[in-house]
Structure formats: structure tokens, C-alpha cells
């Protein structure tokens, strides 16, 4: 057992480190370090421009989308090299957040299902950050039960072969910045729900597409609703066969859980710092027995996630696939973060209710409190993740599905009698 690099890994790390030192936007370092829980921290320039500039620079030197093939704009590197790059990129990695959905989910789906021409046209500008993608999956009527989606795609009656899209998507991250979207629709309401779906990609500037920001419970607007009114998509923008959309979506979702679940923070280091500074009854909070007990609980979760991640990296380093233990990441991190935020406010006493410039650590814990409910829902809710662990890891039987063999149009849509 050791935490050392192999000679090859060490050589790659040195190369990556040297390039990053010579090329990273070091003038932004201080601002990035100041980043709050839900903000980039950058205010000296446009954060999106800063993100795009760094991504472009990486792409030109072959450091973008390290695990993608070179012909699609990637770096053709191994999974372990990608991990090492992430460790070396450090705080500058947070500049990549506008591209996470595209690189982690849309790109792999396009790579698996699109034609060669489309791959060569679409993937390089996605890798370099010149074009941003969003994922048009969730709907008001289909979240955890994604296959319950209702946005319809109907063949145009003019013989063009085009599809006409009508409906609404929701919780679309970054739709307002996106040039492209990955869109799942219902093409056959007479088939059982998983069988009548079809996947497309489309330009977000296609007529009839309207993006509206959602004002979230925490007051911010990171997500959008996207409305489709008679939007026309050519048939060659279909991914997979008509009716194969569910299968195509699984490519995306498997990638979603991997990319969101890896390396998530619980906020423990910040809480520990806070407890060293804050006072309870005139003494440092960390001296209080009940505080110490709770801190220890958070500490072992943080540590457990960290070393679970290192076990996965170990597997990658040996050229193996990480085991199912990786599936616990987001489930643990999301719930821990929420409890941790509540605890940090508890230490602040009645002043914990105040969220302004007087709040400790730039109101980080107040922001965390208000944002964390979303972490437990997005990218697979806690309940869906427990189902996945129960069924795919422990081998328990699936729930009995009452809507499995029913035509989609016959499935009830309201619980009210």
C-alpha cells in the first residue's frame, strides 16, 4: 500500500504540472480561492469568458477532455492520467463548470450514438469550450421517473422526414449559455413508456425554443425551463433508432452519476476551520464536547469518501474498473453537507439566521444550507441512488412496476380521484 505514483504516472504529473504553471490564469487564483458555495468568486472579469479562455488554451495544447480520442478534440489519455490532471489543475478546474454537462454527459452520448460526420463536427468545439451543451431530460411530469416524460416528437406531415417537437423541459443547467442540447422525446404514446422514446440533438437557436430561468428556492437561478413550440428537427439529428431513446439516455445517465459523484466535498475542512475560530460560551467551539462529537462524525464521512475515491483511483491505476463502492459518493456528500450546514448555523446561535457580510466565512454555511436540498435531488435523488445500490450492488429485486406493460397514454397522470 502506498499513495505514490508509478514512474509513468509521476512523469505525466510532472508534465501536467509544468504546463499548468506556465499557462494557468494565475491572476484569477485569489478570486477562485474565495469562491463561495454557489459562485465562481470571479468578479474582475466575465466568469464565462474566463472559463472559455482557459478551456481553449487547454484544448490547443491537448489537455482538454483528456479521456476522449484526439480526432474528437480530446487528449487520448488513460483514466488515471485524467485523475492526475484533475489533482494538478486544482482550483483552476472549477473554471470548467460550464462544460461539465457537455463533457461528462452529452459528449459521451454523442460519441456513442452519432454519425462520424456529426462527431467530427460537434465534439471538437465541445471539447474546446467554444460550444456549450445542455441536457434536456427532466420534465415537470418526469424527474426520478424520467421515462414518464411527455415532450412529443411527431413526424412532419410534409414528407421532409423532419420531426416536430412540442413540450417542456425543466431543471436544465446552463441552457441560457448553450449552443446545443441533447433532447429526449416521446415518439410513440401507444407503446409502454420506456419503449416509445427517441433521442435527438438540436441547436438551441432553432425557432420555437424558449429558455426561461427558474428562480430557485435559494433565490439563485442556475437552472432553466425550456419550452418547445413546433420546433422542427431534421431526422439526421436523431441519436439511435426511433423508440431507442431510453437505451441512449442510459449512456448519459451512467456518465452523469460518475462525473457528479466523484470527488464531492462535504464542507468538513471549512467547518473544522470555523470551529477552531468560533466561540461557544467564551471558549473555542472545538473545545465543546458535543461539538467535538459531531465534528468527528463529519470527519469520518469526509475521510471515508476521500479514501473510497482513492480505492477507485487505485483500480484505475491498475487498469481495472472501479468497483460499486463509488456509487455512495453523492448520496453521502449531499446529506452530509446539509447536516453540516445546519450544525454550523447552530454554533452561530441566533445570529446563524443572518446571511450578510457579518456572517462567518462569507456566509458560506448559510449558502450551503439553502443550496444543499438540491444536491440531494439533482443527478439522481437520494432515493434513486439507494435503489441503485440496493438493486445493482446488493442484487435486490426491483420494485413492482404497475406501469410497465401499459400503453403510455393509459398511465394515470394525477393522484386525485
Amino acid at each position: 500500500m502506498d499513495f505514490d505514483d508509478t514512474p509513468e504516472e509521476a512523469a505525466f504529473r510532472a508534465e501536467a504540472r509544468a504546463w499548468i504553471q506556465a499557462n494557468a490564469p494565475t491572476h484569477l487564483e485569489a478570486e477562485l480561492k474565495r469562491a463561495g458555495f454557489a459562485s465562481s468568486g470571479i468578479d474582475s472579469e466575465d466568469p464565462m469568458a474566463a472559463s472559455k479562455a482557459w478551456q481553449k488554451r487547454k484544448a490547443e495544447a491537448g489537455w482538454a477532455c483528456l479521456n476522449w480520442p484526439k480526432e474528437y478534440g480530446g487528449g487520448a489519455r488513460t483514466p488515471i492520467e485524467r485523475v492526475i490532471w484533475g489533482q494538478e489543475e486544482g482550483i483552476y478546474g472549477s473554471l470548467s463548470s460550464p462544460f461539465i454537462i457537455g463533457h461528462g454527459m452529452c459528449g459521451p452520448t454523442v460519441m456513442a450514438w452519432a454519425s462520424e460526420d456529426h462527431k467530427r463536427r460537434l465534439l471538437p468545439p465541445l471539447a474546446s469550450g467554444e460550444e456549450i451543451w445542455c441536457q434536456l431530460f427532466s420534465e415537470p411530469a418526469g424527474g426520478s421517473d424520467l421515462a414518464g416524460l411527455r415532450t412529443s416528437a411527431v413526424k412532419a406531415d410534409d414528407g421532409s422526414g423532419d420531426w416536430i417537437i412540442n413540450g417542456q423541459k425543466i431543471w436544465t443547467s446552463g441552457a441560457q449559455h448553450s449552443q446545443w442540447g441533447l433532447l429526449i422525446t416521446r415518439t410513440n404514446p401507444d407503446a409502454p413508456k420506456h419503449k416509445g422514446l427517441t433521442m435527438f440533438f438540436l441547436s438551441m437557436s432553432t425557432p420555437g425554443v424558449e429558455v426561461r430561468p427558474i428562480k430557485q428556492a435559494n433565490g439563485q437561478s442556475g437552472f432553466n425551463e425550456v419550452y418547445f413550440t413546433d420546433v422542427r428537427i431534421p431526422d439526421d439529428q436523431r441519436l439511435g433508432a426511433v423508440g431507442q431513446g431510453w437505451e441512449v439516455s442510459l449512456t448519459t445517465l451512467m456518465n452523469e452519476r460518475l462525473s457528479i459523484g466523484s470527488g464531492m466535498s462535504t464542507g468538513f475542512p471549512e467547518l473544522f476551520d470555523f470551529c477552531l475560530q468560533a466561540e461557544v460560551d467564551g471558549r473555542p467551539a472545538v473545545d465543546d464536547a458535543s461539538v467535538r462529537s459531531r465534528l468527528a462524525q463529519f470527519a469520518v464521512k469526509q475521510s471515508g469518501l476521500k479514501y473510497t475515491g482513492m480505492r477507485a483511483i487505485t483500480a484505475l491505476s491498475k487498469g481495472e474498473t472501479p468497483g460499486p463502492e463509488n456509487s455512495i459518493g453523492k448520496l453521502v456528500a449531499g446529506a452530509t453537507m446539509q447536516e453540516l450546514a445546519m450544525f454550523a448555523l447552530d454554533i452561530q446561535g441566533q445570529s446563524g439566521a443572518i446571511q450578510d457580510e457579518s456572517s462567518p466565512m462569507n456566509a458560506r454555511f448559510q449558502q450551503m444550507l439553502l443550496r444543499s436540498p438540491a444536491t440531494r435531488i439533482e443527478g439522481g435523488s437520494d432515493e434513486i441512488l439507494r435503489n441503485i445500490i440496493g438493486e445493482r450492488v446488493l442484487g435486490l429485486p426491483g420494485d413492482i412496476r404497475v406501469d410497465k406493460d401499459v400503453a403510455f397514454r393509459d398511465i394515470p397522470t394525477s393522484g386525485r380521484k
Partner: protein
């Protein structure tokens, strides 16, 4: 990056698992619970013959001379099998005390006998209720004679050798405490087996009246040595706990697949499925923390105190969580004497207290993180 055991180590683990699944049957585990011998003598001899007891003891002292990584995996299997044997007392503690603080003569005298299973060792530390502090140590050594009482002492009724923490010399606080080797078969020792929540590992009260005692380690260094050795033992015990948690989880999973209610396998109900998923989560976090502990133990890292407390807190909770929910998944049958669920429940709660309670280790963890923080700053 290599946070995993080697193929050779995993192969050894498989051998130990196969041996235990054959020899450590439910009847063997239950013997102590049902009025039989206080430990499984034949099983212990078998483990000694396999080299499990001496796996991390150098060949010069009658051991196999492998590393603590192998001992970690052996511990995981002993925990999984609920083995009713005094390995924790004799190997994780007594042998470790000798290795860390013994003179050449002391090592030569005792380590071969502990490795062969011919003698059993233990650590006599606790005196009464609550967290142990130096002030609570009343047992004292004068002129090489020990007087006082220790209770509870794990395996104190079957051990031949005790490492005893006692007052001696002129120091104050922690410096008042030294360690002594006491031959429990010698004069001045009386023992009494205590009733406990887990009779598959016995506990005893030891009373000393002028028992001959030979110092182990320097005078006044007892508390510091004990703290180091208990950290090392905590990592090994955490592996036992993770093994137990894993087995309790797999029992619950198997039952959830087998048991039908309301016309379906109960594992298809989300109430049960999610309980099992949460058991998997806590067992996985604990396992990863234990691997961190194993690395620290084997590499002699300065992070060992943090890693030990982390592994200990995490594994204590995981085993308790999995053992109690294993009963819950089994429903009423889980609360019968005949089903094995209560054996895991008993063991998980007994191990949670051995080496100091959860709250003690939580407190130690935070102290050590504070120390690491000060050093880094």
C-alpha cells in the same frame, strides 16, 4: 496510488476465510454463550498452526514475519466469523506491547508462546466505570509487587500473561503510570469471570495482592506506550468490525431475498432496500477508512493516530448500524435465540466499547486533527 491489498495478501485472506467457515461454525461461536468453554481452544490452536497468530511477529520471536497488512486481513476474517478466540487481547495488544516496548529478554520469553498459542496475553487497563484517565489508575507497584484490581479485563480469565497499567515512581498525571508484565498463573492473582453482553469473548475481574510484576518499557512511560499500542490495536479491531459489518449486511441481504411477505420478496420494498443500501454505505465508508488505517499501520506514518481514530469511529458505527438493522430486516425471527443475528448485535456492541468507547475515540480524533492543524500552520 495503491490503496489496496496485494494479490498474495488477498489469497491469504481467502485461506483464512475458508478455514474459519469450516471450523468456526455457529455451534463453536455459541459455545461460550451456552455455558461451554470461555473460548474455542481447538480453533485457537488451528489459527496458531496456520500462522495467523504470528503473522506479524518477526521470525526471530517465533512468528511468520509478514506484515501488519496480513494481520489486518486476518482480523477482518475473525470479525466476519465472530471467532470466539482471544486474538485481540493476545496479539493486537499483548504481543504488540512486547514488540513496541519489550526488552530482548521479554520478547524472547513471551512472543514465541503468544505466536504458538501456547500462552494467551491480555491488557489489564480499566478500573471501573467511565473513560480511563491516569487519575483512575489505583493499581500500584512497589518493590516489584503489584496490588490493586483491574476490571473488566478482556479474556482475563483465560490469559496467562497480563500487561498491567499501574502507578509507580514519582511522576504525576500520565507520568505516574508504568506498564508491568504479570504472570497470571503466578502467586497473588485471583480472577473472576464476569457476565457480559457478549459471552463469546470473555471478560474478567483481576485482583492482585503482591503479584510479582516486571516493568515493560520505561518508568512513567506507560500511558504513552499504551496510547500508541491502543492506536495500533484500534486499526486491527476496526478490521474485525468491518468484517462483522460485512457479514451482518450479507445475512440481511440474503434474508431479504428469501423472505416473502405481501406476495413479494421483502427486499423489493423500498423500506427494506433503502435500509440495506444505508448499511452498505456505512460499511463502505468504514472499509475505506480502515484501508487508510492499514496503510498508516504498515508504513509507520505520522498520520497513524489520526488514521486509527478515524478507522475506529467509522468501523464502530458501521458494525453497530449493520448489526442492529440485520435484526430489523429479519423481523421477529431476528430476535430469537436460534437465529444468529443477536450474536452480531452482541459482538458489535462489545467491540464498540473495547479499547474505549465511541465518544472517547471521537474526542481523540478531534484532538489529533487539531494537532495536525497546528503542525501544518
Amino acid at each position: 496510488m495503491n490503496l489496496d491489498f496485494s494479490d498474495d495478501q488477498k489469497q491469504l485472506q481467502d485461506q483464512i476465510r475458508r478455514f474459519l467457515s469450516e471450523k468456526c461454525t455457529p455451534a463453536v461461536v455459541r459455545s461460550g454463550l451456552e455455558g461451554g468453554e470461555p473460548f474455542a481452544r481447538d480453533l485457537y490452536r488451528g489459527l496458531a498452526e496456520m500462522g495467523v497468530l504470528g503473522v506479524a511477529i518477526p521470525e526471530a520471536y517465533g512468528g511468520v514475519g509478514l506484515s501488519h497488512l496480513e494481520l489486518c486481513l486476518a482480523a477482518e476474517e475473525l470479525g466476519r466469523a465472530l471467532a470466539p478466540v482471544p486474538v485481540a487481547s493476545s496479539i493486537y495488544l499483548a504481543a504488540e506491547f512486547l514488540l513496541q516496548a519489550g526488552t530482548e529478554a521479554q520478547k524472547k520469553a513471551w512472543l514465541p508462546r503468544l505466536a504458538s498459542g501456547e500462552s494467551i496475553g491480555t491488557f489489564a487497563f480499566v478500573e471501573g466505570q467511565g473513560r480511563m484517565t491516569p487519575d483512575k489508575v489505583a493499581a500500584a507497584v512497589r518493590d516489584g509487587r503489584l496490588s490493586g484490581a483491574k476490571s473488566p479485563v478482556p479474556d482475563g480469565d483465560i490469559a496467562d500473561l497480563a500487561v498491567v497499567a499501574a502507578r509507580s515512581g514519582a511522576g504525576r498525571g500520565e507520568q505516574a503510570i508504568s506498564l508491568f508484565l504479570v504472570d497470571l498463573n503466578g502467586p497473588g492473582v485471583t480472577r473472576e469471570t464476569l457476565a457480559s453482553i457478549d459471552p463469546t469473548r470473555s471478560q474478567a475481574r483481576l485482583a492482585f495482592e503482591g503479584a510479582p510484576a516486571e516493568r515493560l518499557g520505561g518508568e512513567g512511560e506507560g500511558w504513552a506506550i499504551a496510547s500508541q499500542v491502543m492506536d495500533r490495536a484500534a486499526i486491527l479491531m476496526a478490521f474485525e468490525q468491518v468484517g462483522g459489518a460485512d457479514r451482518a449486511l450479507s445475512m440481511a441481504r440474503d434474508y431479504a431475498l428469501d423472505r416473502m411477505a405481501f406476495g413479494r420478496q421483502i427486499g423489493s420494498f423500498q423500506a427494506i432496500k433503502h435500509m440495506l443500501a444505508d448499511m452498505y454505505v456505512s460499511a463502505t465508508l468504514a472499509r475505506s477508512n480502515c484501508y487508510y488505517g492499514a496503510w498508516a499501520l504498515a508504513s509507520g506514518s505520522s498520520e497513524l493516530p489520526v488514521a486509527a481514530a478515524t478507522a475506529r469511529v467509522s468501523a464502530t458505527q458501521a458494525f453497530q448500524h449493520c448489526a442492529k438493522n440485520n435484526i430489523q430486516v429479519h423481523g421477529g425471527m431476528g430476535f430469537t435465540w436460534a437465529f444468529d443475528c443477536h450474536l452480531f448485535y452482541r459482538r458489535s456492541n462489545a467491540l464498540a466499547l473495547a479499547l474505549g468507547s465511541l465518544s472517547t475515540w471521537e474526542d481523540l480524533l478531534i484532538s489529533r486533527l487539531q494537532g495536525a492543524n497546528t503542525q501544518a500552520a
